[in-house]
Symmetry: C2
Amino acid sequence: MARIVMKFGGTSVADIDRIRNVANRVKKEVDAGNQVAVVVSAMAGTTDQLVNWVNEASPLHDAREYDTVVAAGEQITSGLLALTLQDMGIAARSWLGWQIPFKTDNVHGAARIKEIDTAKMAQRLDENVVCVMAGFQGISEEDNRITTLGRGGSDTSAVALAAALDAERCDIYTDVEGVYTTDPRMVPRARKLDKITYEEMLEMASLGAKVLQTRSVAMAMNHNVRVQVLSSFAEKPGTLVVDEDEIVEKQVVSGIAYSNNEAKITLVGVENTPGVASEIFGPLSAGNINVDMIVQNISEDGLKTDVTFTVPAADLDKAQDVLKAADAVKYDSLIGDSDVVKISVIGVGMRSHAGVAATMFHALAEKGINIHVISTSEIKVSVLIDAAYTELAVRSLHTAYGLDAEE
Amino acid sequence: MARIVMKFGGTSVADIDRIRNVANRVKKEVDAGNQVAVVVSAMAGTTDQLVNWVNEASPLHDAREYDTVVAAGEQITSGLLALTLQDMGIAARSWLGWQIPFKTDNVHGAARIKEIDTAKMAQRLDENVVCVMAGFQGISEEDNRITTLGRGGSDTSAVALAAALDAERCDIYTDVEGVYTTDPRMVPRARKLDKITYEEMLEMASLGAKVLQTRSVAMAMNHNVRVQVLSSFAEKPGTLVVDEDEIVEKQVVSGIAYSNNEAKITLVGVENTPGVASEIFGPLSAGNINVDMIVQNISEDGLKTDVTFTVPAADLDKAQDVLKAADAVKYDSLIGDSDVVKISVIGVGMRSHAGVAATMFHALAEKGINIHVISTSEIKVSVLIDAAYTELAVRSLHTAYGLDAEE
């Protein structure tokens, strides 16, 4: 007998039929003798409708009222799932954020979790009552008002609850069957991974593999919560996100991620004087622009240098304006380009395995793909290339690292 | 400067445009220097949607979960109205039942109000913050869960809040312009009343003039809350529901009400023995059937009697089954008839004014309308007639008592 947390997203609870399907999944875990806490999102479409109303009512809205309105979505689902379970003869009750209480700070709209008081819920779990918690919401004790964790916060709610309940596993049910070696819409031979480490998942998530919220993965890693990503529509095991120690045979490369939410800026002919980097990146940081990859090439005479870096595509114009306004930065010309993509190969095994980067450069060169920028970290090698080559690059690397599924 | 409560029903807050209209009405009261608490219903259609989902999820549902789901409707409106007011530059915040707290017993789905702790809200009102309370909902401290007051409970929420805040007036905004002498859809010359007493309003409300919930009128009477019924769409004064003392020139008859939710049962040839009435009505009472009008005619020889009474139309079959199963009741035949209507003339003035009933019987006789049952109370005379004569009877009586508006 184990204590588990199951989390279902908006498409999994979009209507009463789907909620009944969710209840059946819960029933299986109950029948297997498990204590089950469930975390639910709002029914698909509900949050968007509520957010639209809020924006119509007040474009520059009070985040406290936003939270009050939007949290109603998860409240509705939690009650409906508890009712559906009861209708199947399973003891169940709903828990709203303020009832637990699920305590957060008072940064409404993007609150951080402070403490989850699970004493009462744990007692009900021991009595074999399924506890259905409304995701995404908490309470700020400072003002006794509803808070929300920000969009996608239900994953984080679930992982935090699993940590607080000391659950054996946190199952995140979604509309995909797990975590893949790469985007299966782009590469038909992408394989579902049985296991992936927190660190690899963090890199995958932040690079646009939209399976799990980055924040929930970081929380799972910090509290050592075993997370499983699986489909609410297919009856198959999904992908386990776990600590590195749990994976005996580590892959050198676990996956290939890509992100086209990047833009490149090159400053040509920058005077190579001490402090020039801080003169360039200081104003960008002050302007709240997140700089990612950075390379600097020193010219032959050592007097001038070219600096290239990437920023989020949405910030490209702003970044160029900031740089043009920064008088201290001397350069010959500034080139902005948002038609680029960042491709990353990710794997904890590369810590102990040489030649990963070389394999990447070779595979790309073979296809005639030019690399603009390279950056590496302990478990990742990333390159920036022209966006037009995205699919060719991802497919080639997927094959080069032996990730393709058997035909 | 006065403290007032304004209540807006579902059609008045059906979308953001209407909520903005409501906010304008609130702004006028604020600009006039008043302290304003607002009570809102769910947006029209929302409650029905939520109730349908609950019934789909679980036909025999747990009332605690029903309350959790359905209360979300008023929660949404309270946040949206607070936002809309803020957008107009008016300080405002929403209050949910559990935040006030609006304490009730734990009879979920039909909770009774125990106590409203208005200390914090009163402080905000003194700071000229508009307080928008979600109607219809409260909290049961016994189980720390959301309760609802039952359908239409928002009127009761508003009157209870007005009593707790010692407000000068409770304005109930609705989709009609006030209380009329009779149903204006049936009688075009019906007049809007400037004032009506609590007792008259109670009779009108319970007889199907669906302007105010009976329960809210009874609460207003008990706590002496001055209630005004008015339209959220027209800028006109409505009808004040007040204590009799506030009405100097009392009408003998204030209004004509009708109810077609009645059925008549006649037991012909009942043995006229002591205790026969209790043998008839005891089983009906035990079967939770509400008996209204009762008449008994003794036959010439005094040995047999006919007993006629009314029950709610929905209970007609059940009542007949109960009587047939009651062996102690001896009668020749049982006649049930749901094709009847109850017409009532209502007015506190009839306490001190004779001839009201005579005028009624005369007016009906003149039109050839046969009266089946008569019952009277201090401020009301009711007759049961064939349903086909409803409109003719109401129009004739409206004219007979001088209630017609001038052409």
